[in-house]
Amino acid sequence: MVGAACALYAARAGLDVALVDRGPVAGGTTGAGEGNLLVSDKGPGPELELALLSSRLWDELAGELGRAIEYEPKGGVVVAPTPEGLTALKDLAAGQRAAGVEAVDVPADRLPDLEPHLVPGLTGGVLYPQDSQVMPALAAARLVRASRARLLTGRAVTGVLRTRQGAVRGVRTDQGDLHAPAVVNAAGTWGGDVAALAGVTLPVLPRRGFVLVTEPLPPLVRHKVYAADYVADVASDSAALQTSPVVEGTAAGPVLIGASRERVGFDRSFSLPVARALAAGATRLFPYLGRVRAMRTYLGFRPYMPDHLPAVGPDPRVPGLYHACGHEGAGIGLSTGTGHLIAQLLCGGEPELDLAPFRPDRFEQEAA
């Protein structure tokens, strides 16, 4: 998705773009995501600024591609089961509002107006009208098509070509070299591997997540709904399984249920305990779902970086190399902003946001 967005904005800025992927379009984490475009789960800071920029750009894109990518500006509802949770949630929302987020406090007795099937007894919540959704695989494929970039799928990058001075001059693939003065690393969870081909380190780690998919339903879940504990805490480096309920309908009918996080490498095996935990979380929020059937699960690997911020911008260690990866679970949402900023950089302009917090070499500096 991030690669598709980079291609789109770079091509629209007048550049000649080739998009290379060793797999198909949306074959990595994109095809395994829910397609969230969220501002609600981000506290004030650089990531929220990127999310707000991205949100505006998605809204623009929706004008030309909205239906084709199943864009739904449906809003998010965060609910708090306990008074303490509600206090923390309202504090977060106040901070977000100051940073430009639309956030509407919803008292407990108004929650049923927003989500009639929510479990009774919640203490309140916050509505985030800017939260939206797309069908991520369609979004990636349609953005690629709209970019008119040369799409080279099934072609693996095996090396980064450098000049004698060390600057990037293209990539080597298993089907020949591609020459270009700039290379953008949008390899998501595998971004560390591409960086390594250029001789630099980029600490991107996989964080596995499962999504449960239900039978098709009418729009019983109208927003993206999740519990406040999902955002209550920020930085975890735990490898252990964590789940918190995230429930949302889709344009096509099925309800998607997340979210689990585990650091188990690239293990693709099905885990019944994770599926059970997701089902338990969802049925606690929406008791109605207890009799609804799950049809399948899918899994993906979020590109996770130690400080939970992506790497966006030029790599000072390798002139001509740009990174646009490590967005963890927010890559679909943050892709438009990322692509837009990368295109500004590629054209020699001043990026719209301060990219210092996203510097790709920031971990090296810490280590030094």
């Binding site: 999902y230 009799r291 963890e328």
Partner: protein, 489 residues
């Protein structure tokens, strides 16, 4: 207490394995989705129908009688526990123990759990149907479906039927429908007699099969059924149900021969293009699946996950006799392995010979019974190819030609074809053909849909019984869990 062996599927393979294992002292729980044992091949009329001559719709009735009597005997001694109406949705392997999760009850909402040291997957297969214009009309159904309804409930789909497609199932289906009073207007088979003549040697190695086919053909003749070899159904027509089908002869290149198309009025089209194995449970367990052939097994019918065996159609399509041989071998292997001994293959030499011969026979048959080479040319862009999600052929073609999809997973992501209730089991072969993408075995972590409320409940561990159901008090109330997590979707 837990049982030694869970057998999933009470068709020929599962029954043969259960009997072979139980005879050797293994405690068996036989889990099956149907209300009575027999599987698809030996599907019996429901007891309430009081059929006094059920064998009229079957052949190899004596084999069935022996299996049935053996099962009854072992049930009486308690060696085999038969759980009919139990739909297995997952088999889980944890710390050396295999746990089988099933749903029971009329609405399939009661969770049941069985633990065992060994599991035999004898989950059978289902019919492959390739799409054509009109195939979603009511009255168009699988050949095997028509047969299952007839055998199990003694009802027929209509008054006048066309049986079409390719493969060894079409003859018995047409014969069964004709015997049950349906006017079979034609049996349309895309394979021609030429191929059979060229492989006469290999086919004659199974004289029983040739006799079987000849008997069916004679019966069809008696009922005045027209057999149309090297013909294909081009389209089914009707408004709210099938009223006519267009049938055409095939030229040597496998295309409908111009000028040969004709319409046959009918209210039923029973169609099939061979069979596919059920491999979901094996796949979720991490067993190796051999392309679209089936679960990969060794000479003892062991899958490559310790404790898991597989037999019958799930390891490759080959009919009831092959399933019996494989099941028998699996049962003996399991009995030996569970007692800590390596089995002696000499003991099942006859079954192994029969297995080898039948596998050869069916690999020849598989090459002969193929759909018309250019069948996808008949699939118009507005033909629905994914029945569940109503995805049309044109949309699928666009995903490949315009959006860069080059494999079935990407086609699914971009079109929803294969994302519906059946999880692509019905449409995958058709979409593979239309897109030119290789077909892989159907994979879904759940072998069938499971209510979220069931999924949410951990099974209770009752040490007294091998069969467990969760207690109501185990349903958790909403409580807040504070994860210290970078909680992102």
């Amino acid at each position: 207490m837990r049982t030694d062996l869970v057998v999933i599927g009470a068709g020929p393979a599962g029954l043969a394995a259960s009997l072979a294992a139980a005879t050797r002292g293994v405690r068996v729980v036989l889990v099956d989705a149907a209300p009575a044992a027999g599987g698809q091949f030996y599907r019996q009329p429901a007891p309430g129908l009081g059929a006094r001559r059920p064998g009229a719709l079957h052949h190899q009735w004596r084999t069935w009688t022996r299996l049935r009597e053996g099962l009854d005997r072992h049930i009486a001694t308690g060696r085999i526990t038969h759980l009919p109406d139990h739909h297995v949705w997952s088999v889980e392997k944890a710390s050396g123990c295999l746990t089988v999760h099933a749903l029971s009850g009329p609405e399939q909402e009661q969770p049941v759990t069985v633990r065992a040291a060994a599991v035999l997957l004898a989950t059978g297969g289902y019919e492959r149907v390739l799409p054509f214009p009109g195939w979603t009309l009511p009255g168009v159904l699988t050949a095997g479906g028509a047969q299952a309804m007839l055998k199990g409930t003694l009802v027929v789909p209509g008054r006048r039927a066309v049986v079409a497609g390719t493969g060894p199932l079409l003859l018995p289906v047409a014969a069964g429908l004709a015997a049950a009073g349906v006017a079979v207007a034609a049996l349309v088979e895309s394979a021609g007699p030429g191929g059979f003549a060229r492989h006469a040697g290999a086919l004659a190695a199974q004289p029983g099969k040739a006799v079987e086919a000849a008997l069916y053909a004679a019966r069809l003749l008696r009922h005045g059924v027209r057999i149309l070899p090297r013909h294909t159904v081009v389209a089914a027509h009707g408004d709210d149900r099938v009223e006519e089908v267009t049938v055409a002869a095939l030229d040597s290149g496998g295309r409908p021969r111009p000028g040969t198309a004709r319409r046959i009025p009918c209210d039923t089209l029973a169609v099939g293009h061979g069979m596919l194995p059920h491999t979901d449970l094996a796949d979720a367990l991490g067993c190796r699946i051999d392309g679209v052939v089936g679960v990969a097994v060794d000479d003892e019918q062991r899958a490559d996950v310790p404790g898991v065996w597989a037999a019958g159609e799930t390891t490759g399509i080959g009919g009831a006799a092959l399933a019996l041989a494989e099941g028998h071998i699996a049962g003996r292997s399991i009995a030996a392995r569970l007692s800590g001994a390596a089995p002696d293959p000499q003991e099942w030499e006859r079954a192994a010979q029969s297995r080898a011969a039948l596998r050869r026979f069916f690999s020849v048959l598989d090459r002969l019974c193929t759909p018309p080479v250019h069948w996808t040319e008949q699939v118009t862009d507005d033909t629905v190819v994914c029945r569940c999600e109503e995805v049309r052929a044109g949309t699928v073609r666009e995903a490949v030609e315009q959006l860069g999809a080059g494999d079935l997973r990407t086609v699914k992501l971009l079109t929803r074809a294969g994302m519906g209730w059946c999880q692509g089991r019905m449409c995958a072969p058709g979409i593979a053909g239309i897109t030119g993408c290789p077909q892989t075995a159907s994979r879904s972590p759940f072998a069938r849909p499971v209510p979220l409320g069931v999924l949410a409940r951990e099974p209770q561990n009752d040490p007294r019984s091998p069969v467990e159901s969760p207690a109501e008090e185990n349903v958790r109330q909403y409580n807040v869990t504070h994860h210290r997590g970078g909680d992102r979707p």
